[in-house]
C-alpha cells in the first residue's frame, strides 16, 4: 500500500494523540452522530432493506467466487467498447502504468476524482516525483491536499477540520496551486465552497487528462460507475481527452441488473440520501461525448491475498459506504488517522492488515483496535461480519508473534487502549452483542450469524468483557 502512512506509530500511540485533540473529537462526534441518525431514517424508508442487504452480500460473494471469470468478461466488454485494460499486480506497477500513460499524452498535470484506490497506491506522490501535478478536485480532498494533510474519513475526508481552519488553509495555500482565494474570504461554508469552485474551474476547463476510481464495474457490459455529490467527478470524467481509471479488482459486479441493489443501498448507507446528486456511467468511449481515450487499470495490490483467506475475503465485499465508521465507538474517539492507512475505522481494521500483511506494528495492532461490539456488522449494507474477521486476524497476529514478541506487544497496547477508554468500550457493551464475538469460536446455533436476531436477547454469554480479558490476557 501507499508510502503515505509508512512510519505510523501503532494504533494506541496514534489514537492517544487523537484523543488529546479536542477539536478533532468534537468534529468527529458531531459528524458520526449526525450521519448515523440520518442513515437510520433513510434505511427505514425501504421496508425490504434486509432483502437488499442479503442480495448485495450474495452478489458480491458470487463475484468473488468467480472473480477470474468476471474480470475476463469485464476486460472483453471494456475493450469492445473502445477502452484499454491494464493489469497491475501491486502499487508500483499501477503507478508506473499511470505515469507512462500520462507522459504519453505530453501533459504535466491531471485532475483527479476522489478515489481510495489511488490513495492506497500513493499515486499523487508518485506523479509528483515524476514531474506531474495531480489536482484533487473533491472539496474535502482539496482541503486535505492544500493542508498537506491526510484524509481521516472515507466519505468526509476533511471532517477533522473546522471551517476556520479551512478558511486559513485556503487563504494561505490556494495561491501557490493556482487561483488564489478571494479577498476577504470568510469562513461560511457557502463562501468556502465558492472559493473552491473558482479555484478548480480553471483547472477543469483546461484539463487534458482525468484520473478516477470507480464504485462499480459491470462485467456484462463493461460499464464503469462513479457516484458523487459535487460534480467534480463529472468534470473529470467528461471534460478531459484522456481518462484513466484505477480500480480494485473486487469492484466488479456481474450484471447490469446488479446495480439495482447497490444503487439503492450505497447512497442510503453512505450519505443517508435516497440518491447521491450525481452518478456517472460510461462504457468505453463515445464519439463526441467525453474522453476520446479510456484506460482501465485493474489493481491487485494485496487483494488476492485477502481473497485467499476464507474468513477474511468477505472484506472484499465492501462498497466503501463508511457506515461502519460512523457507528464505531472506537473510531469516534480515535479518529481516522490513528488507523494508519487510507481505510480507517472498522473496515480499515480488517482490510488493511489483509492487504499489507501483519508484519508491522501498526498492522498487527489494528485487529485489536475494536471493542467487538458488532455495530459495524449491523449497519453494513453487504453484511460483512467485521467482528468475525477481527477475531480471525487476532489469531493470525498471535500466531506470528508469541508472548513478548514485538507484534504481540503492539497488539496488546491497542487492546489496552480500547480497554482504557471506558466510554468507547461501554458504548460497545451496551449493544448486547458485546460478548458475541469475544471467543474465537462461533456461537452455536443457526442464527448466530444474524446478530440482529440476537441483539435483544439479554442472555448472551454473561461474562463481562473486562473479566474475560483479565482471565485470558493478563
Amino acid at each position: 500500500m501507499s508510502g503515505t502512512f509508512v512510519g505510523m506509530p501503532s494504533f494506541p500511540k496514534a489514537a492517544h494523540e487523537a484523543v488529546g485533540d479536542a477539536t478533532l473529537r468534537a468534529n468527529l462526534r458531531h459528524a458520526t452522530h449526525t450521519i448515523r441518525d440520518k442513515r437510520a431514517r433513510a434505511v427505514a424508508e425501504l421496508d425490504d432493506w434486509a432483502a437488499l442487504r442479503e442480495a448485495g452480500k450474495r452478489i458480491k460473494d458470487d463475484t468473488l467466487r468467480h472473480l477470474g471469470t468476471y474480470l475476463v468478461r469485464l476486460e472483453e466488454a471494456v475493450t469492445r467498447a473502445g477502452g484499454t485494460v491494464h493489469w497491475a499486480a501491486d502499487a508500483a506497477e499501477a503507478n508506473r502504468i499511470v505515469t507512462d500513460l500520462v507522459k504519453a499524452t505530453g501533459e504535466t498535470e491531471v485532475v483527479k476524482v476522489k478515489s481510495m484506490a489511488t490513495q492506497e497506491i500513493g499515486l499523487n506522490e508518485h506523479l509528483e516525483a515524476e514531474g506531474i501535478a495531480a489536482y484533487e478536485t473533491d472539496l474535502a480532498e482539496l482541503i486535505v491536499q492544500l493542508g498537506e494533510d491526510r484524509p481521516s474519513h472515507i466519505l468526509v475526508p476533511a471532517i477533522h477540520r473546522n471551517r476556520g481552519e479551512i478558511r486559513d488553509i485556503f487563504r494561505e495555500k490556494m495561491g501557490s496551486w493556482g487561483r488564489p482565494a478571494p479577498e476577504g474570504l470568510s469562513d461560511t461554508p457557502a463562501e468556502l465552497a465558492e472559493a473552491a469552485r473558482l479555484h478548480l474551474r480553471e483547472k477543469f476547463l483546461r484539463a487534458k487528462v482525468g484520473i478516477s476510481g470507480a464504485n462499480f464495474m459491470v462485467a456484462e457490459t463493461g460499464t464503469l460507475v462513479v457516484v458523487e455529490s459535487e460534480g467534480n467527478g463529472r468534470m473529470c470524467l467528461t471534460l478531459p481527452e484522456t481518462l484513466i481509471s484505477v480500480v480494485g479488482i473486487e469492484k466488479v459486479v456481474p450484471t447490469w441488473r446488479d446495480l439495482e441493489v447497490f444503487l439503492q443501498t450505497l447512497p442510503r448507507s453512505s450519505t443517508a440520501e435516497r440518491m447521491n446528486p450525481y452518478t456517472s456511467m460510461w462504457t468505453g468511449t463515445t464519439d463526441d461525448d467525453g474522453p476520446r481515450t479510456f484506460h482501465l487499470v485493474l489493481l491487485d495490490n494485496g487483494r488476492t491475498d485477502a481473497l485467499a483467506d476464507e474468513v477474511g475475503r468477505q472484506a472484499l465485499r465492501c462498497i466503501r459506504c463508511s457506515a461502519c465508521l460512523n457507528v464505531c465507538p472506537v473510531y469516534e474517539r480515535a479518529g481516522g488517522h490513528a488507523y494508519g492507512s487510507v481505510y480507517p475505522g472498522p473496515i480499515g481494521a480488517i482490510l488493511t492488515p489483509q492487504l499489507r500483511g501483519t508484519t508491522s506494528d501498526i498492522d498487527a495492532s489494528l485487529p485489536y483496535a475494536s471493542s467487538l461490539c458488532g455495530a459495524c456488522y449491523d449497519v453494513c449494507p453487504v453484511a460483512i461480519d467485521i467482528p468475525e474477521v477481527l477475531v480471525h486476524l487476532r489469531e493470525r497476529v498471535a500466531g506470528e508473534g508469541g508472548k513478548g514478541h514485538r507484534l504481540e506487544k503492539a497488539a496488546m497496547k491497542a487492546a489496552g487502549w480500547v480497554l482504557d477508554h471506558p466510554s468507547a468500550l461501554a458504548a460497545g457493551e451496551r449493544l448486547a452483542s458485546a460478548t458475541r464475538k469475544l471467543h474465537p469460536k462461533r456461537l452455536p446455533g443457526p442464527g448466530a450469524r444474524q446478530w440482529s436476531d440476537h441483539r435483544d436477547l439479554p442472555e448472551l454469554p454473561a461474562e463481562p468483557f473486562r473479566d474475560w480479558w483479565k482471565k485470558n490476557r493478563t
Partner: protein, 216 residues
Amino acid sequence: MTPQPSSRDRILARVRAAVADAPEAPAVARDYRTSHTADDPAGVLDLLHENLADYRAHVHRTTPDGLPALVARRLAERGARTVAVPPGLPAGWLAATDAVRRPDEPRLTPYELDGVDAVVTGCALAIAETGTIVLDGGPGQGRRALTLVPDLHVCVVRAPEQVVASVPLALPRLDPTLPLTWISGPSATSDIELDRVEGVHGPRTLEVILVAGGLT
C-alpha cells in the same frame, strides 16, 4: 528464453488459486421489491415532484401548451441571457424565450460552455422514489458536459411516459452502452462541518419541468 508471465496472467492465476477450494456462493435471491410505490401514475408523479423538491430542485408543472412560456419564464427569472441548445431539442420549447441560443453544433469548447448561462434539455427518464432524472445523451439531451458546466439546468420530463417509480424499474429501460448521467438535485457538498451547500462544481440551480398530457 521463457517469457515472464504478464501481470494479467499472474493476477488471474492468483485469483483462481485463492478461491479454488471455496464452496459455491448461494444463488442470488432477488426477493427485494421491484418498487415501493403503488402503481398509480398520478401518485408516482407526485412522489417524483416531492422527492426532487426535497433535494432542492425547483419543480414546476405544466401542459404541452404551457411549456414554452414556462421555459421562457424560468430562464428570465434566473437572469439567463444565453442558453446552450443540445441537438434535437424540440424547437418549440425555446419558442418564447428571448435568450440567445448557443447550439452545440459544432461542439462548444469548455470555455465557451463556461460562458453560457443556462442549458435546456429533455431526459431519458425520471425515478420517483429517489427524485432522480437520468440523461443518456439522446436527442434533446446533449453530451454530458452540456448539463454540467452552465450554472442553470432546466430539464423537461414528460409524464407519465418518462416517469418510473423505482431504481429496479429504471435500469431495464436504460441502455448501458450510452453515457448515462443520473441527477438527483443540484450539485451539493457537505464537506465543511456537514453543512449542506448547493452548487460546488455542477449547476447550482436545477429546474425540473414536469409536463403532463403527452408531448411529442
